[in-house]
Symmetry: C2
Subunit: 373 residues, 2 copies
């Protein structure tokens, strides 16, 4: 995409400040006519709509100036820092009537958003369980240690823990908000959001000063999905907002990864329900997330293995003989040798070896396994 | 399949008593030559093998007579009660070098095995967790209440609970053993196995008197998979024997159903690992099991839904307006009306309605949502 003209950028500021996020009419107009054309079309007054009046009073230069004085930059498509993933929002993805690439995004913080190219979203319930917190910590830490940036919202619960654990592990993490990047919501995350804005980045398509509205959370979720390669859903009740985010990730053909949990846990029910719908992958460890979102061959998961069992250290012949020693009622060496197709001359020394190694026990009426099966 | 001749039946008794279960050479010979032909071939002495001698000393009439006096019957393919599912074992399925339809099965108990046609296996670790026990109970009870017979092994842990919960709910349940059906292993399940043998059925391909050997457990698992429409894996550590059973179910194109659990639980790790390999389905409730194994349309699962929220009871217009009320910092009625594209004359009464219903609150500087988001 070519560098945006100054007129185009200012038109995008006006649209960003005047139109609610996820408005498909506007994003379609922008795609077809460019931002200036879209703005002109929207400036035509329509009965029953106050949009043209709202747009008319916006002073884009003043908005940019105010933002800049607060350390907030406005990015539009074509800017070197514009995250390419957001352009995928213009290919028809739609959830609950919302969609489209935002006219621009407002960013506070030193981290260039181009670094989000290989990032992963970690999302889930505000009311997280201890288990959810533990899993979020483990996965975020693993991503951080592999240099994969984490993206999440600004809520308490899983969002908070995803950022916090990433920071503790020395990783990079970015919050995408439903309100302006200069605002704090919820209040208890004030310190976290300030830290992200100072050291990494806080992002919103809402202009500075905007309040958090429910519809803006829904629209915001599409940015979380679009900015990342994949979304990990750690915990979600059946109507959790996090399910909306994975809905976006699915629409955008991003990898959706679900962390299983106890069926009996309220906060895992939404995850299992989503998972059963179809197209996502079950993950139990950060390394599995890395394997799914990484470039091919980047992060290969080692097959999980049970602990080595003492049995594994035996010779193949002794292992084979051991198969024929009964678990409960003892059997004579002759009968064991016959089943194992071994001469009795070889079977007895082998049984003695197995006895010394603690596998079998000789009793009055024959041999049996030493440990209860 | 035509009714088996008496000679054929007796040859099968000899093979059942003399050949270890899952022996592919024998089952292949039986398939190609019939049981009499297979027996003749195996009676030829081979150097290093004691098989022909073992077979030679077996008196099949005496075996049948002894079994019958203990209330044990011997079923062979072609018998009206022969479970058709076992024939699927002759189509090349093989796990760890074992496989094949058994020459016959020994059954104790009044339940005709034809009733297993729509049955489900419920399997898992001997060392079950409280969670595993709870899930096994819930799923088995649901199957019992729907008239679906349960099949499992005779071990403690998940096997025991699957039988026990099915019995408590008034269902039918069958144990498939690795030892003879007249033997008890493990000892602590003596009462359960006696009850199953008296009221339902206990099944083994091992002749009466046979001891439980490790290799017989592996061979036994193929019967559990073959006798049922699908296998539910409730809990399994990474090296659990229950994974062998689902391996058989997969090879036999049965439905494999995995119950998710906490990633942090040792006894769910084998389940998740198996599940991530591919072809199984996640289940969280017995009704989902019924839907998967039932005849089409038999058991349709109701979509799980979150609780109805009070918001759902509002008129669509009021729900829409509610979207525009800020969650934290209050906003004036005029600004809310404008965002919601509503005339102020309609917006204020609507806000009052929402206030009376407890959704919004009026403060000095405007309106906000009543509950913290």
């Amino acid at each position: 995409m070519s560098a945006p003209s100054e007129h185009e950028r200012l038109a995008r500021v006006v649209l960003s400040c005047g139109v609610e996020p996820g408005d498909l009419t506007t994003s379609t107009l922008v795609r077809q006519e460019g931002a200036q054309g879209a703005l002109e079309a929207q400036l035509v007054p329509r009965p029953g709509s106050g949009l043209s009046e709202r747009l008319r009073v916006i002073d884009p230069l003043r908005q940019l100036d105010q933002a800049s004085r607060c350390g907030i930059r406005f990015l539009v498509p074509g800017d070197p820092e514009w995250p390419a993933g957001l352009d995928d929002l213009d290919h028809g993805a739609e959830v609950q009537g919302l969609g489209g690439t935002p006219p621009g995004i407002w960013v506070k913080g030193p981290m260039p958003l181009t670094e989000l190219a290989g990032s992963v979203a970690v999302v889930g319930s505000r009311s997280a369980s201890t288990y959810g917190v533990e899993m979020t910590r483990a996965i975020s830490e693993c991503l951080a240690l592999s240099g994969v940036p984490v993206v999440s919202g600004g809520a308490k619960g899983i969002d908070f823990v995803a950022h916090d654990a990433t920071l503790v592990a020395g990783g990079a993490t970015v919050a995408v908000l439903a309100c302006g990047v200069d605002r704090v919501y919820p209040e208890q995350n004030r310190r976290l959001l300030a830290h992200l804005a100072a050291e990494f980045a806080v992002v919103s398509e809402q202009p500075p000063g905007s309040a958090p509205l429910r519809i803006r959370f829904l629209a915001r979720n599409r940015l979380i999905a679009a900015l990342t390669r994949g979304t990990v859903l750690v915990e979600a009740a059946l109507r959790s907002g996090a399910l909306n985010t994975v809905g976006w990730a699915e629409q955008l053909s991003r990898t959706v990864m679900c962390v299983p949990g106890p069926v009996t846990s309220y906060t895992s029910q939404g995850v299992h329900h989503w998972f059963r719908r179809g197209s996502s992958t079950l993950v139990t460890h950060g390394s599995e997330v890395l394997e799914l979102v990484g470039a091919a061959g980047d992060h290969l998961v080692e097959e999980p293995r049970g602990e080595e069992r003492p049995r594994d250290a035996l010779s193949p012949a002794d292992q084979r003989l051991l198969e024929w020693v009964p678990v409960s009622q003892p059997a004579g060496a002759v009968s064991i040798a016959r089943l194992g197709q071994l001469h009795i001359r070889d079977a007895v020394p082998a049984l003695r070896r197995l006895e010394r190694a603690g596998f079998v026990r000789e009793e009055v009426d024959g041999w049996r396994l030493a440990g209860a099966r």
